[in-house]
């Protein structure tokens, strides 16, 4: 007589071992599934960015930067640009410019409430400002140079994705890592995401209220 595959009626006197076996098998299976799930979860390396070291006195009451800021380093990373340059001076350091750059001709940067103007270039045209970047970025990526009171105060790299480079985050991290060792008294760098753009801003330390203002992609 074939026994049907049904649950035993409540109160039936099945032997203890027959009830226990499925529970043990289930528990073993759960453990095995856990092992497989963990083995299949790849380890991810977390990048740690290093800030400039501080040197404290023996009582930890005063500090200074362990490595004194080098103004030449920032000029090199900015391809010869320097904070405070006039539009005309900026124009001399940007490639593919037809004619001089004049304050009155520059468009407004609408993310600022102050009278901030800007000039932009495709990223491919500014190799001198992309020194440490090895990773990919989309063809729509561009660089923005921002001026306030006719003086350069920020350079902003906007890395965009495209079909050939769906995630330009690594490029932005490489650029950001190059500016990070500079003391905030030389340049203030920030990296953030705006819409699908990965952005790195490097700002003059004396830019005051302009420092915390960051670009947002339209429609965000």
């Amino acid at each position: 007589m074939i026994r049907p595959h049904t649950a035993p009626p409540r109160g039936s006197s099945e032997p203890r071992s027959r009830c226990l076996l499925p529970a043990l098998l289930l528990a073993g299976l759960a453990s095995a599934i856990g092992t497989i799930a963990m083995a299949q979860t790849p380890d991810v390396t977390k990048r740690i960015l290093v800030l400039p070291a501080l040197q404290w006195n023996d009582t930890a009451s005063t500090w200074h930067y362990a490595v004194l800021p080098d103004a030449g380093q920032i000029t090199s990373l900015l391809g010869g640009l320097q904070f405070g340059m006039s539009p005309e001076q900026v124009g001399q350091h940007l490639p593919d410019r037809n004619g001089a750059l004049h304050w009155d001709d520059l468009p407004d940067a609408k993310e600022f409430s102050q009278d901030v103007r800007y000039v932009w270039l495709p990223m491919q045209a500014v190799n001198t400002l992309l020194g440490p970047v090895k990773s990919c970025f989309g063809r729509q990526s561009y660089l923005v140079v921002l001026l306030f009171d006719k003086a350069l105060f920020r350079v902003s790299w906007r890395f965009m994705p495209d079909a050939t480079c769906p995630n330009p985050r690594a490029a932005s991290e490489e650029l950001y890592s190059a500016f990070l060792p500079l003391a905030p008294s030389v340049a203030i760098s920030a990296r953030y995401t705006a819409g699908y753009a990965e952005v790195v801003d490097v700002t003059a330390p004396d830019a005051g209220a302009l420092i915390p203002v960051h670009w947002q992609m339209q429609g965000q």
């Binding site: 203890r16 453990s31 963990m38 790849p42 977390k46 023996d58």
Partner: protein
């Protein structure tokens, strides 16, 4: 009528704790103030004390290392390991400066926290739910500092560990993270406590 369910559960639980579960049962060895001598002795100039903090911008998922070097006091002793001893007490000003290092770069300063986070941090992500003491390693006790995290959706939730090689530091960080959060902490990184 007897119900065998409790017996089954009691017998099944040990199986569930076999390999495959992220909870580690061994006692935690996370003594940040350990006096154990590092195994490698250096030659030449003794290594001055460096206290390294890991701080996190939770909005950008960015981890920063803030190294604090201490000028040796006149009566400073060089340990057998050729490392200067670190101050017995690290004033809060030093921790504050580590946090400020992150805030200098963050879009929102409030997003900067110490990288050693309490259980429940993902529900209440604030600096009050982090520990400055546990987010640092001192060069007289450890040569490496590590972070281990699990991803809680928008942010990484992390803890910090110290050790005398990258693997040991990462293990300490993972152990602490998995014990504290009961999650599989597979996101990790490390770097030397002292500047190269």
């Amino acid at each position: 009528m007897r119900n065998w369910f409790p017996v089954r559960v009691v017998l099944a639980v040990p199986l569930l704790l076999l390999p495959g579960t992220p909870v580690l049962g061994a006692p935690q060895n996370f003594d940040l103030g350990s006096n154990a001598a590092p195994p490698v002795a250096t030659h030449g100039k003794p290594l001055i004390c460096t206290v390294t903090y890991l701080v996190e911008d939770v909005a950008a998922n960015e981890t920063y290392a803030a190294r604090m070097q201490f000028t040796p006091s006149k009566d400073a002793v060089v340990g057998a390991n050729a490392r200067m001893s670190c101050p017995a007490m690290i004033p809060p000003t030093v921790s504050d400066m580590a946090l400020r290092g992150c805030r200098d770069h963050a879009a929102r300063p409030a997003d900067c926290v110490f990288a050693d986070m309490s259980r429940g941090f993902s529900d209440a992500p604030s600096v009050d739910n982090t520990s400055d003491n546990a987010a640092r390693c001192e060069s007289d006790a450890a040569s490496q500092i590590a972070i281990a995290c699990w991803n809680a959706g928008k942010m990484d939730v992390c803890n910090v560990g110290c050790g005398n090689d990258p693997k040991a530091a990462e293990q300490a960080a993972r152990h602490r993270c998995e014990l504290k959060h009961e999650q599989y902490c597979n996101i990790a990184g490390s770097l030397p406590v002292a500047a190269p």
